[in-house]
């Protein structure tokens, strides 16, 4: 299994890297809609070489190097994404586990159906409704994610709660569903039955036998959602007027600021590839089958 993992995983990552880049370069520079042919790659090579040396080109609109804009924006987006992830991962998993433990009872129905409903809604729709509820009617939270200059950690966090909620809602459904189906499968398995039959307390069975096996697929899902998250960020950052990588790309695209657009998308590609790599790595570390295989 270790061998298989080692053979397959790098291939996946390579593909993930190649995908966004090849397409983006083709569309941007040459208005080609498709294509990963050689001359493109050569041209692309020099550009990437410059990129790796910190030269991302010069913005057409701002007439200034692109790099500081992209780095700032990436930092802002990461803050937003981090808030969303920190909220959604534990709550999503908890939701899925609770649903599975109450399989086909009303609580399961509510979590599953609710999760599914909010997952399929566009972010700007949930965003608008949340802004109306918490920003306009209750006046609990600020409606734009622009904190005053030099704001401290908690002020920034306060401004980020509302923008992170629509992302939270979309991801919640996915994560809860994966956790739920993982749990159901684990609860139904032979090893769980054995554990119950040998007289272990229910709590121990859940913690030591079921959860461990159930949550593995969930980790992969969380990582693959990074791709979604990037698309979501474009929308959310526009809605909340937040200076992140999504709104940077959006503004660059509208203004035909190609160097900015390319740098933004390449950055996203790298983030995506790194996230995929980390997820693959985490999965193989956490998977006891792979670990056991090595020890033997």
């Amino acid at each position: 299994m270790v061998f298989l993992g080692g053979q397959v995983l790098p291939g996946n990552v390579g593909r993930a890297i190649l995908g966004p880049f090849a397409d983006q370069r083709a569309v941007d520079a040459l208005n080609h809609s498709l294509g990963v042919d050689r001359p493109l790659l050569v041209q692309y090579g020099t550009w990437i070489w410059n990129f790796l040396h910190g030269d991302m080109g010069t913005s057409y609109i701002f007439r200034a190097p692109v790099a500081p804009f992209v780095i700032d924006a990436l930092g802002n987006s990461m803050k937003l994404a981090l808030v969303a992830f920190v909220l959604v991962v534990p709550i999503g998993i908890l939701g899925g586990v609770i649903a599975a433990l109450n399989l086909n009872r009303p609580l399961d129905r509510i979590i599953s159906l609710g999760g599914l409903s909010v997952t399929v809604l566009p972010e700007f729709v949930t965003g608008i409704i949340l802004i109306l509820i918490f920003g306009v009617w209750l006046r609990w939270l600020p409606i734009a994610a622009a904190w005053p200059k030099g704001a401290g950690f908690f002020t920034q966090l306060y401004y980020l709660i509302l923008p992170s909620l629509p992302l939270f809602l979309v991801l919640f459904g996915y994560i809860a569903r994966m956790a739920r189906s993982g749990m159901i499968e684990a609860l139904d398995s032979d090893y769980t039955r054995t554990a119950v039959l040998k007289g272990l307390p229910w709590r121990t069975v859940i913690w030591r036998h079921v959860l461990r096996n159930a949550l593995l697929p969930t980790i992969t899902v969380i990582a693959t959602q990074t791709g979604y998250l990037i698309g979501g960020l474009v929308v959310i950052e526009t809605l909340f007027r937040y200076q992140g990588i999504g709104s940077l790309i959006f503004t660059a695209a509208r203004g035909k600021d190609f160097p900015m657009l390319e740098a933004g998308i390449l950055t996203i590609g790298i983030v995506y590839a790194v996230a995929t790599l980390v997820a693959d790595f985490l999965y193989s570390v956490l998977n006891p089958r792979i670990r056991l295989g090595r020890e033997q």
């Binding site: 809609s33 399929v120 608008i128 734009a144 474009v234």
Partner: protein, 296 residues
């Protein structure tokens, strides 16, 4: 109907049915008893009726402005209030279903046709064709639709056609993948071998012999994609791509009015947001019902 010749294409009913319906009759019967499906269908049909006949029964012209009565809150003569140009929000919400219900289904149809053809070809020929095409498709699937759309719109300019093509082509790989795996199972069956022995051409075997038997998964995938297409079209028109003013489209209305919600003008966006939400959830309920009917 050749689909009925091979019951293998549909899962056999769990218990032998005394009345012996045809497989398609079975599906229709189970759909007609599915509350999820019927609820979704009701919502969907409501909006289809609004899109087709809405302009005949709405109280005001959705495009006619009345500046003196701009931004009036919901009241008896304007049920949902008026927007910044004094246009009746209720009429706009009803008629606003038209553009999204044109663009999203067309994009879905394009995705289904392209995806089915591609899936049939790679599933039937397998080998090197399959390897290459599948890798390219996976690379495409890794990029969020919003990003593809941004790039395409930079390259091609914004129009409804661009949006249809972008969404259609970015969903096609997903459908192709589903069709491919269905074809892989079918191509090993005897009727395909028989067709080959009769010296039928590859095209005939693919489109006349195999296609009718892989309709169920295609149908399920298409309804699911329709939900995502509505999601994507709404998001893109919110971002200012595709559907253009003065259309009363929901996403467009939200994007031109959400700047004012800080001032408490909630009615200019809430009803559009709820309309999108209901349509997306409706389509997803239909998709859920169709999925259930084919997999029970």
């Amino acid at each position: 109907m050749s689909a009925t010749d091979t019951p293998a294409s549909l899962p056999a009913p769990s218990a032998p049915d005394a009345t012996r319906r045809s497989p398609w009759g079975e599906v229709l019967h189970s759909l007609s008893r599915s509350g999820t499906f019927l609820t979704g269908l009701f919502i969907l049909l409501f909006w289809v009726v609004c899109a087709l006949f809405g302009q005949h029964f709405v109280p005001y012209d959705p495009l006619e402005s009345d500046i003196i009565n701009a931004l009036t809150p919901p009241a008896a003569d304007h049920w949902f209030g008026t927007d910044q140009l004094g246009r009746d929000v209720f009429s706009r919400v009803i008629v606003g279903s038209r553009d999204i219900l044109t663009v999203a289904p067309l994009a879905t149809i394009l995705a289904t046709i392209a995806g089915t053809a591609l899936g049939l070809v790679i599933g039937y020929f397998r080998g090197i064709v399959d390897d290459i095409v599948s890798r390219v498709l996976e690379a495409f699937m890794a990029i969020p639709v919003v990003i593809i759309a941004l790039l395409a719109i930079v390259a091609l300019g914004t129009s409804k056609i661009t949006v249809i093509v972008v969404i259609g082509l970015s969903f096609a790989p997903i459908i192709a993948r589903t069709v491919r795996s269905a074809v892989l199972a079918e191509r090993e069956l005897d009727y395909v071998a028989a067709a080959k022995l009769r010296h039928e051409g590859a095209l005939h075997t693919m489109f006349v012999e195999i296609l009718p038997n892989v309709i169920p998964p295609i149908l399920v995938e298409t309804t699911v994609r329709l939900g995502y297409a509505i999601f994507a079209v709404a998001t893109l028109s919110f971002m200012g791509f595709g559907i253009q003013p003065p259309s009363p489209d929901w996403g467009l209305s939200i994007s031109s009015n959400y700047g004012m919600i800080g001032g408490g003008f909630w009615w200019t966006v809430l009803f559009d947001a709820l309309a999108i939400a209901s349509l997306v959830i409706g389509v997803n309920l239909v998709a859920d019902g169709v999925h259930g009917a084919f997999n029970d």
